[in-house]
C-alpha cells in the first residue's frame, strides 16, 4: 500500500486529498471516494477515513479522501456556489479527476453523517457512482421508534420514581423548551450566528431523500447503510429504515445494519475493525453496475505528489 498526496482543481478552486493505492489491484474494482463528515477535515473523526482507506487497500481497492473547498487543507471557494452546491461541485470534480487519473468508471462513495447524505446525493446525480456507503445518514423517527423509546423506559421503576419526584430530565427539558424559545428570540435579537451551514446540508425532507433513494435503486446502485447507537434519538430498532420509507422496494440492493453497541465514530477498536471488515466483504461480494466507460487516463496513477 502506498499513498500519494494530490492537489487538483487549480483552474477554479484548488482541492487536495490523499490517494491510497493497493500494492495489487483487485480485478476491475470500483474506486472509493471518502467524503468528509461535517466540518472535520478529511481524516475524519477518530481517524476513520485513513483507517477505511488502508483497509480497502489491503483488500485491493483504491480510495481517495479529500477536503471540500474551505475545509481541512483546502482554501475557500473561488466561485459563488452555495455550500450545498459547492459540495456537489467538489464531488463531481473529484470524480472527474479520479476517472482521468485512474482510468476507472465506477465509484463507491462513502461517508459518515453529513458525508453519508452527500454520498447518496452523489449517487443520485452521477451514474459513475455504483454504490454508496452511508454511516449514520439522516433518518426520521417512526411510530415504532416512540414505542421502543418510551416502552423501554416504562418498564423501569427508577424512571417512574424520578418522574414523580421531579428529578427526571423530562422536567428540565420541558423547562428548556420554554426557555429556549425565549432564548432563540433573544439570540436572534443579539445577532448571534447559527451553527455552521454544513450541518444543514443533510437531507431536510424525507421526500427528497426518498426520491434519491428510488432513483439510485432503480439504476441498480448498491447501498451499505449502518446506524449506530449514537443515532438512538432518531433510530432505535433494526429495520427502522424500511418503516421510514415503506414505499421503497430496496430488494437485494441494500445491506442494512443496526449497531446499538457502537458509537457514531466507531471509536472502539473492535467495532471499528468489524465495520471495516464488513465494508470490504460487502464490496467483494457485490455485483456492482457497470458505471460508464472511463475516459482515457491522462497519465499514470503513479504521478508525483502535489500535482
Amino acid at each position: 500500500m502506498h499513498e500519494i498526496a494530490l492537489r487538483y482543481g487549480e483552474g477554479v478552486t484548488p482541492l487536495a486529498g490523499v490517494l491510497t493505492m493497493p500494492e495489487q489491484l483487485a480485478t476491475e474494482p470500483p474506486a472509493f471516494l471518502i467524503l468528509g463528515a461535517g466540518i472535520v477535515h478529511r481524516v475524519g473523526p477518530n481517524r476513520l477515513h485513513p483507517s477505511l482507506a488502508r483497509a480497502l487497500a489491503d483488500a485491493g481497492f483504491v480510495s481517495f479522501r479529500f477536503d471540500f473547498a474551505g475545509f481541512g487543507d483546502c482554501p475557500p471557494r473561488r466561485d459563488a456556489l452555495s455550500l450545498a452546491d459547492g459540495v456537489a461541485s467538489d464531488v463531481e470534480e473529484t470524480l472527474d479527476m479520479l476517472e482521468r487519473r485512474l482510468g476507472v468508471g465506477r465509484f463507491v462513495v462513502a461517508g459518515l453523517c453529513s458525508g453519508a447524505d452527500n454520498a447518496l446525493r452523489a449517487a443520485a446525480r452521477d451514474e459513475r457512482v455504483v454504490a454508496a456507503v452511508m454511516l449514520d445518514p439522516t433518518v426520521w423517527r417512526t411510530r415504532r421508534w416512540y414505542l421502543e423509546h418510551y416502552g423501554r423506559r416504562a418498564v423501569q421503576p427508577r424512571i417512574w420514581r424520578d418522574v414523580l419526584t421531579g428529578r427526571h430530565p423530562i422536567w428540565s427539558e420541558l423547562g428548556e423548551r420554554v426557555g429556549s424559545r425565549r432564548g432563540e428570540e433573544a439570540a436572534a435579537d443579539a445577532g448571534e450566528v447559527a451553527p455552521p451551514e454544513l450541518f444543514r446540508t443533510g437531507y431536510l425532507e424525507r421526500e427528497t431523500m426518498a426520491r434519491d433513494l428510488s432513483k439510485v435503486l432503480a439504476r441498480g446502485t448498491r447501498l451499505f447503510t449502518t446506524f449506530t447507537g449514537s443515532w438512538s434519538p432518531l433510530y432505535n430498532y433494526a429495520g427502522q429504515l424500511f418503516d421510514v420509507f415503506p414505499q421503497i422496494d430496496f430488494g437485494d440492493r441494500l445491506r442494512l445494519a443496526y449497531r446499538p453497541e457502537t458509537d457514531h465514530t466507531f471509536s472502539d477498536p473492535m467495532q471499528r475493525q468489524r465495520l471495516l471488515t464488513e465494508i470490504v466483504e460487502w464490496t467483494r461480494a457485490s455485483d456492482f453496475a457497470p458505471g460508464r466507460s472511463p475516459r482515457p487516463p491522462l497519465r499514470s496513477a503513479q504521478a508525483s505528489s502535489g500535482s
Binding site: R7, V18, V40, P50, D73, P195, G306
Partner: protein, 246 residues
C-alpha cells in the same frame, strides 16, 4: 497549500506546505507541531488558519501529522515521544528543502509545543524562534485529563496510550521541559492558566533566549465547540503569533 508526503519510506508522514507570500525561497520558515488525539482534530482548523496568517507574514510553514495520527502512517498506539522527535527532524528537513531556509523555527500547540521544546535540547539545531502555545507542562496531569475525557461517556474518542508513551509523558514536567532548551527567542502563549508557567518560563530563559510571554483571554482551540468535533478559532492568539517579531 501543497500536500506533501515525506519522511522514511517505511513510515511516511503527511504534511501541508504553505509557501511564504511573494513565493520567493529563503527568508523565514516555521514548522508547526500539532497536538495529540482528539485535540489534533479539534485544533486542525486553528492551525491551518495560523499557517495561512504566518504565510501572509512571509513565513514558509509546514504543518504535519505525527506518526500514528492524521494521514501519516502508523497506529496511534505506536505513538512515542522519541518517534515524534524523529518525525520532527524529518519535517524540519522537508521544510528546509521546500523553502530554501536553512534554519527553521519551531512552533506547536499543546503536546505539539512540548515536543517542539524537547527538540531544542542537546545537540539539536538551535531554532531562531520557538513558539509554545499552551504547552503541556505536566505530563501526568495531561494523562489524567485524557483519562477523564475517556471516562466521560458518550462519543469520546478513546485516546489509546501505550504504556511506553505513558511512561514518556509522565516524565514531562515544567522544570525539566524548560531547562536545556536552546532557542534564540521564545514566545509562550497561555490561554489556559497553568500553575507551572513560572517554572517553565524561568527555565526557557536560562540560556540567554529572549522569552516573550503572552496571556490571552481566548477560547481554547483544542476543545470541542458545539459538538461539531472541531474547536473554536482563537483569533487573538493567531494574530499575536503571526505578528510576533522573533
Amino acid at each position: 497549500m501543497i500536500p506533501v508526503i515525506f519522511g522514511p519510506p517505511e513510515r511516511p508522514l503527511l504534511g501541508t506546505y504553505h509557501a511564504a507570500a511573494g513565493g520567493a525561497r529563503g527568508g523565514r520558515a516555521m514548522l508547526l507541531c500539532a497536538p495529540h488525539g482528539l485535540e489534533y482534530t479539534r485544533a486542525h482548523r486553528a492551525l491551518r488558519i495560523l499557517a495561512d496568517q504566518l504565510a501572509r507574514e512571509r513565513w514558509h510553514v509546514l504543518r504535519f501529522d505525527w506518526s500514528g495520527t492524521g494521514d501519516s502512517a502508523g497506529a496511534l498506539e505506536e505513538a512515542r515521544v522519541e518517534r515524534w522527535l524523529a518525525d520532527l527532524e524529518a519535517a524540519r528537513a522537508e521544510l528546509e528543502a521546500l523553502s530554501g531556509v536553512s534554519r527553521v523555527a519551531l512552533g506547536g500547540l499543546r503536546l505539539g509545543a512540548t515536543v517542539a521544546a524537547l527538540a531544542c535540547r542537546g545537540d539539536a539545531p538551535v531554532p531562531p524562534a520557538l513558539v509554545l502555545w499552551d504547552p503541556v507542562t505536566d505530563g501526568a496531569g495531561y494523562l489524567r485529563e485524557l483519562g477523564g475525557e475517556g471516562a466521560a461517556g458518550g462519543e469520546v474518542e478513546p485516546t489509546r496510550i501505550s504504556n511506553a508513551f505513558a511512561t514518556e509523558l509522565n516524565r514531562i514536567d515544567a522544570s525539566s521541559l524548560g531547562r536545556g532548551v536552546h532557542a534564540e527567542s521564545v514566545l509562550v502563549v497561555w490561554t489556559r492558566p497553568s500553575v507551572d508557567r513560572a517554572t517553565l518560563e524561568r527555565g526557557l530563559g536560562e540560556h540567554g533566549a529572549r522569552v516573550d510571554v503572552e496571556e490571552i483571554d481566548a477560547p481554547l482551540a483544542w476543545t470541542e465547540e458545539h459538538d461539531f468535533g472541531t474547536g473554536p478559532i482563537p483569533g487573538a492568539v493567531l494574530q499575536r503569533i503571526a505578528s510576533w517579531r522573533a
